[in-house]
């Protein structure tokens, strides 16, 4: 018993201790698992939060680069407000000794740049962006290739947030590319928000005016009359009509902020005629008299911009105030969309103001003064006005009596070329062919796009007012070939009443203060309104997007409501699809920055 008793005496305790040991091991295992589970959950959260923080860093960089393409300031430990984490962006600005965590900004260069990924690994107008994010114990790295697009995205040649108003001859069409010329249907749209009341209307000025829009004409406005091209459907063609259309989102360009962000760029010297390459800042209202060449340049104007001449080349214009162009070939480039105009105020585009140019030549106080011009130019201007008044007041040719017909012939003779006139001039006293004389005077000026245009235009005018040897032949030539040489005199003398309105219309289109043809090759974006008149050609796209109501009154009294597009007296807009597809055509300066590809995340 004692042996047995002694042997059993420790069994209870031993059993208890053993059970306790087993239980403790089980509970400990449970505790370890629970803690691991907690760590896994916490890590999963940290990983997710870090990934979203990387995305936040990329978005922040995109935003900054859109405002300032040259941005290369390090962002170190940028805290997120609601998450216990931060992101870091460091830039390599030396171009050498690249580190894996360093980004490379090549946004403003037309050439390839080196990076940690090797030589020429960052394409032109791109940035290799490395964002390091840390949340809790988790660090994540995102590596993306950002690319800047200098144009606004649009699939239509004309978009507005307000009304679209057309007058006179209008044609809106499109091509795949200027190289191939393959036509594509191109429509116009107004309305970027639900409930918008923008309307689209066309007014026929002259009997031969026609309107053509090869694509769909659409407005968000549900009203039945929201699209109104007049009662006579034979004089217009639309590729389709849609009222109560869906709003089309258009991304806004914050022009004032872009200009402010680039206020540190070199100041543009006064009187500059050739800008670039690079970025330039002008601190006030800028008036350019003459021709301006953009050489791969971005110009930020913190004020109004007025251009009395032509702009050519490749570049972008950011204008903080209103923009006025008065001249032929207002903005153009040789091959593709290389010019973008971003105006915070309204934009006014008018044909070349021949009066201003020729007034200058006839002004004794001007350095361009020419005494003969002081005689010829007032004669030409007065005769043109008198002739047009006579034609306007007699819409029916039959109402002209013999004396009035003789007056027409006399005026035409004074203006235009006489067949028998021999060079230099048939009448040294200046009684005839003043347009020819003025043309030759202009031709003697320093050659430039403006002068070349004016000489060509004066020659064209002169031929319209030529007195033909055979009136019947001149009319037949016009009817067969559209050649208006001698048409006014021929119609007046022959009594061909049916052609009198046409002759009157042609005379109107050649009013001397509107003799130009505005030609814009590029994209126009305005946060105000857009007004253009006098044979305006736009190759590219036009966007007037305003989120607030208001109007702009230009010095000549023209009132432009914000968000409206108003095109008068002969307009042609040709949309070029390739302009908005191909990044190689992007414009210099600030522009949209998108993620082209994620290289690591």
């Amino acid at each position: 018993m004692r042996k047995v008793g002694r042997g059993r005496r420790g069994i209870a305790l031993m059993s208890v201790l053993f059970m306790m040991l087993v239980l403790m091991m089980l509970v400990n295992a449970l505790l370890i698992l629970a803690r691991q589970q907690a760590l896994v959950s916490r890590s999963a959260y940290d990983r997710e939060a870090a990934l979203f923080t990387v995305d936040a860093g990329v978005a922040e960089a995109q935003s900054r680069l859109e405002v300032d393409p040259t941005w290369s300031t390090d962002l170190v430990d940028q805290s997120m407000e609601s998450v216990p984490g931060a992101f870091t962006i460091r830039w390599n600005t030396s171009g050498t000794n690249f580190q894996p965590w360093e980004s490379v900004n090549n946004m403003s260069s037309p050439d390839y740049a080196d990076s940690i990924r090797g030589a020429d690994s960052v394409p032109p107008r791109s940035a290799l962006l490395v964002v390091t994010a840390r949340v809790g114990t988790m660090a994540r790295v995102g590596e993306v290739l950002l690319t800047r697009y200098g144009t606004v995205g649009t699939a239509r040649p004309i978009m507005s947030s307000g009304n679209l108003r057309f007058q006179g001859k209008v044609r809106v069409d499109g091509v795949k590319s200027l190289a191939t010329g393959v036509p594509v249907a191109s429509g116009i749209h107004t309305g970027i928000k639900s409930g918008a009341t923008g309307t689209i209307t066309w007014t026929q000025n002259q009997p031969d005016d026609e309107a053509t829009v090869t694509g769909k004409v659409s407005t968000v406005n549900p009203a039945a009359g929201a699209i109104d091209f007049g009662p006579d459907s034979s004089v217009y063609f639309l590729g389709g009509e849609e009222t109560d259309a869906k709003p089309e989102a258009v991304r806004r360009v914050d022009i004032p902020q872009t200009i402010e962000a680039n206020s540190g760029e070199p100041a543009l010297p006064p009187g500059t005629t050739a800008v670039g390459p690079g970025e330039w800042y002008y601190p006030g209202d800028l008036v350019i008299n003459g021709d301006l060449t953009l050489n791969n340049a971005a110009l930020y104007v913190n004020g109004k911009l007025t251009v009395n001449g032509s702009i050519t080349g490749r570049g972008s214009l950011y204008v903080g105030g209103d923009t006025s162009f008065q001249g032929d070939s207002v903005v153009q480039s040789q091959d593709a969309l290389h010019v973008g105009l971003f105006s915070h105020g309204s934009v006014r585009l008018t044909g070349f103001d021949g009066s201003a140019y020729l007034d200058d030549m006839a002004n004794p106080s001007s350095p361009n003064y020419d005494p003969e011009m002081a005689v010829w130019w007032p004669e030409a201007k007065g005769t043109l006005e008198a002739l047009q008044d006579l034609m306007d007041s007699n819409p029916n040719l039959g109402n002209l009596d013999a004396e009035e017909k003789a007056t027409v012939e006399s005026m035409v003779q004074k203006l235009g070329e006489e067949t028998a006139v021999v060079t230099p001039y048939g009448d040294p006293a200046g009684d005839i062919d003043v347009l020819g004389r003025i043309r030759d005077k202009v031709a003697l000026r320093t050659p430039g796009p403006t002068e070349a245009f004016l000489v060509e235009k004066l020659a064209s005018l002169r031929s319209l007012y030529q007195i033909p040897e055979d009136a019947g032949a001149a009319i037949a030539n016009f009817q067969a070939n559209g050649d208006a040489t001698g048409l006014v005199a021929a119609v007046a003398s022959s009594g061909e009443a049916a052609l009198w309105p046409t002759a009157t219309s042609l005379a109107h289109r050649t009013e001397f203060d509107k003799i130009g043809t505005s030609h814009f090759n590029g994209v126009v974006y305005t946060a105000g309104g857009f007004h253009a008149e006098n044979e305006v050609n736009i190759v590219g796209a036009l966007l007037a997007i305003s989120d607030t109501a208001g109007t702009t009154t230009f010095p000549d009294g023209t009132v432009v409501p914000w968000g409206d597009v108003r095109l008068k007296t002969g307009t042609r807009v040709t949309f070029v699809e390739d302009y908005f597809d191909n990044n190689a055509l992007s414009t210099p300066g600030a522009g949209y920055v998108t993620v082209d590809v994620w290289l690591g995340r």
């Binding site: 018993m1 008793g5 059993r8 005496r9 209870a12 305790l13 208890v16 059970m19 306790m20 239980l23 403790m24 509970v27 449970l30 505790l31 698992l33 629970a34 803690r35 589970q37 907690a38 896994v40 959950s41 916490r42 999963a44 959260y45 997710e48 939060a49 979203f52 923080t53 995305d55 936040a56 990329v58 978005a59 922040e60 995109q62 935003s63 900054r64 859109e66 405002v67 997120m80 407000e81 609601s82 998450v83 989102a249 991304r251 914050d254 902020q257 949209y592």
Partner: protein
């Protein structure tokens, strides 16, 4: 006497053992319950993270323009009404008893901040935040 003494000691042993076991088991049960709660909480955090992530990705996928331009908070626990379809469905309902709170704010040029909180229980939540750019 010795036998009685031995029997008494054995009884004491048993009583002490029972006491120790009871105390130990109580402690172990407490630890077990605590561990179980920890596991449950971890699962809740994981689920909350998934709920918040799903909501944030839905917002991102719906597009930059759908996010309001003004600083707003949409509390799915009340719930606040949507504005022009924002936040996207299934807001305000959320799976498994979770409620989401969405806060949007403007941060800069074409830059919006979106914060999603997934709430559960009495005062539990996870928060995810990112910035959006078109």
């Amino acid at each position: 006497m010795r036998l009685r003494l031995r029997q008494g000691v054995t009884l004491m042993e048993i009583l002490i053992a029972i006491g120790i076991v009871a105390i130990a088991i109580l402690a172990l049960v407490a630890v077990f319950i605590s561990g179980t709660k920890l596991v449950a909480q971890s699962q809740e955090v994981a689920t909350g993270t998934q709920v918040a992530r799903a909501e944030l990705e839905r917002i991102r996928d719906s597009g930059y323009d759908r996010v309001p331009d003004t600083d707003l908070t949409f509390d799915g626990r009340i719930p606040d009404a949507t504005v022009s379809g924002f936040p996207p469905l299934p807001y305000p309902s959320s799976p498994e008893g979770y409620q989401v709170v969405v806060t949007v704010s403007q941060r800069g040029y074409y830059l919006k901040s979106v914060t999603v909180e997934a709430h559960w229980g009495s005062d539990q939540r996870v928060v995810l935040q990112t910035y959006l750019h078109p």
